[in-house]
């Protein structure tokens, strides 16, 4: 829908545009100021951070970033985050993509039950799954391993993968596989050789979206990891336990380093953002 930009006289239109820009600029300032301020803090020395009134012009320093990246703790957590997030994505893709294809293409008994189960997985509060999962995993000796976090992350990434990929498969014309079947290809061969190469864009989108969810998760990782296996959000939350302390420079630099990859991912997947956001919603 094109917005109603052609209503009213010329002067009225200009006044309208000016009002819209003013509102947008005000909103942008409000929404981006916190982030800009935090980035500013991360580029200040400790004295500048706590100076009152705040220092507005200063020579930026990278000492906080150097200190953060120089500490083994941050790098270890970064590595853990990377491992569990990519592990969860790979597992959910390998498991979920064939299922999405089957749900999109073949009628089978239990299809709606499976679909309902996936929907419930996405909709129900994660803490409710985490309590029993923690007990079962600890009896199996899995807690504090990164594998347990990978498994836990499939509770949100698997439904996401199946939901979004099903849409991509449904949009693909049936004739392609059907002609492969007629030529004697098995369903599995048609799937891997004909269908998968065609939905590569969908795979990339779903990859980025589930990577982002896994990277941002805090709750599962907080319960299922220890100091050696914790992820970046757990490290960030540990900073804020009780008092915020005095190392604001180090904390803000860590925060910026945590969100930088997600923001890059998000812009890479911006085209697919809406599909990811509304995944799990009943088709409206």
């Amino acid at each position: 829908m094109a917005a109603p930009a052609r209503v009213g006289s010329r002067r009225g239109r200009i006044a309208f545009a000016a009002a819209v820009y003013a509102a947008l600029i005000a909103l942008t300032v409000v929404f981006l100021f916190p982030l800009v301020w935090i980035i500013g803090l991360s580029l200040k020395t400790r004295l500048q951070i706590f100076a009152m009134p705040p220092v507005l012009l200063w020579r930026p320093t990278l000492q906080n970033y150097a200190a953060t990246l120089g500490s083994g703790d941050f790098l270890l957590c970064f590595w853990n985050s990377l491992v569990v997030a990519s592990g969860a994505v790979v597992l959910s893709l390998c498991v979920g993509v064939p299922a999405a294809y089957a749900i999109a293409r073949f009628p089978f008994r239990g299809r709606s039950l499976l679909f309902f189960g996936l929907l419930a997985m996405r909709m129900l509060p994660p803490i409710a799954v985490l309590v029993p999962m923690y007990i079962l995993f600890s009896k199996l000796g899995l807690t504090t391993t990164r594998f347990s976090v990978v498994l836990a992350y499939t509770t949100f990434s698997l439904p996401l993968v199946v939901w979004i990929m099903r849409g991509f498969f449904e949009d693909l014309p049936r004739e392609l596989e059907e002609s492969a079947w007629v030529d004697g290809a098995s369903r599995a061969a048609a799937f891997t050789h004909v269908v998968l190469p065609l939905i590569r864009p969908g795979l990339v989108a779903v990859c980025i979206l589930s990577l982002q969810l896994a990277w941002n998760d805090f709750l599962f990782a907080a319960v299922l990891t220890n100091n050696a296996t914790r992820t970046l959000p757990v490290l960030m939350a540990a900073f804020s336990g009780g008092d915020t302390g005095v190392d604001w420079g180090g904390m803000t630099a860590s925060g910026v380093l945590v969100i930088l990859p997600v923001i890059i991912f998000s812009f890479a997947a911006q085209r697919h953002l809406v599909a990811g956001l509304s995944s799990g919603a009943v088709k409206g």
Binding site: M123, P132, V282
Partner: protein, 315 residues
């Protein structure tokens, strides 16, 4: 499984008799090709049971037991409804019910109102609008824990910029009367863009004819919005409402970082209560009961929304 010739999509004119000759020779349950759909969903089904089905059933069992971590898995004593009774007589839990519903309702209402406003502004075709479309969605991309943590610094009463700018000394997160509102405002900052993105997508997909026709007929902007845009946008609003309600109902990360449920339980939402009961006080049976209460409430919420959507579609 045969057929590597499938690499190239072939013509569809081959005789149907050639299709999958193997299907004749094998009994159906052994014919992997005919079982393809079932084999394809098998791993998903197994994983779902493993990380979702079995844990939930186990926690249902646990919620009727007196269980502690030193006992074997099924070694608890049957406790009947004791855990549920303990919950419903615990002022902290009853309080958290009220706080969760108030927080969810207020947060969702505010997100929808602000998100719709932003979406409407971003939908107006003006030069450089894409710049704003990009800038305004940045907050929703930030890792929630980091966002909450940054806001904790911004709201710090001694060194935070917020108190400096308004020239007062308010301990936002440390007072029972301001903590929940502060947490909700931070949440609004992060999630109004989420609603805006969803609704902007909706606005872009609406047909332009009714709006142009109304404009030609002399309808004002407000009339067009109220009588045409808003009714057309309703399906998208319902989806945004559903998703945000689900996500606010489970709110945890931001509250854990900013207040951990305090001060004086003022921000003790259900997720926080369940977390503290299960993983701080290690009363896992009580935690299981609390999580089943949460599950039932979320299911009721989902059921309600699905009923609303169905009814709309039937009309």
């Amino acid at each position: 499984m045969g057929g590597s010739s499938a690499a190239a999509p072939a013509t569809a004119t081959a005789p149907a008799a050639r299709a999958r000759p193997a299907a004749r020779r094998l009994p159906p349950w052994l014919d992997l090709d005919r079982q393809f759909a079932r084999l394809a969903v098998l791993p998903t089904t197994v994983l779902m049971l493993l990380v979702f089905g079995i844990p939930l059933l186990f926690s249902l069992y646990l919620s009727f037991e007196g269980w502690s971590a030193d006992k074997p898995l099924f070694g608890g004593d049957f406790a009947g409804l004791d855990n549920y009774q303990d919950l419903l007589t615990d002022p902290a839990f009853v309080g958290s019910l009220g706080i969760t519903f108030a927080y969810t309702a207020a947060a969702v209402a505010a997100e929808l109102a602000l998100g719709l406003g932003i979406a409407l502004l971003l939908n107006i075709d003006l030069p450089a609008i894409n710049l704003f479309r990009t800038a305004l969605i940045i907050p929703m991309m930030i890792t929630p824990v980091v966002a909450a943590f940054c806001w904790k610094l911004l709201l710090d009463p001694d060194h935070g910029i917020v108190d400096y700018l308004i020239g007062s000394h308010i301990i936002w997160l440390g007072r029972p009367d301001t903590a929940l509102v502060s947490v909700a405002m931070v949440n609004l900052w992060q999630n109004a863009p989420y609603v805006a993105v969803l609704l902007l997508a909706g606005l872009r997909s609406l047909p332009s004819e009714p709006i142009e026709a109304a404009a030609i007929d002399g309808a004002s902007r407000l009339q067009v919005f109220w009588h045409i845009t808003l009714p057309l946008l309703r399906p998208y609003i319902v989806v945004a409402l559903l998703l945000r309600t689900i996500f606010e109902f489970r709110a945890f990360d931001n509250i854990y970082v900013m207040t951990s449920g305090g001060p004086a339980d003022a921000t003790m939402v259900l997720s926080m209560f369940t977390y503290l009961a299960s993983f701080v006080r290690f009363d896992l049976s009580l935690g299981a009961a609390a999580s089943w209460m949460m599950l039932l409430m979320s299911m009721a919420l989902c059921g309600f929304f699905i009923a609303v959507i169905r009814r709309r579609e039937a009309l």
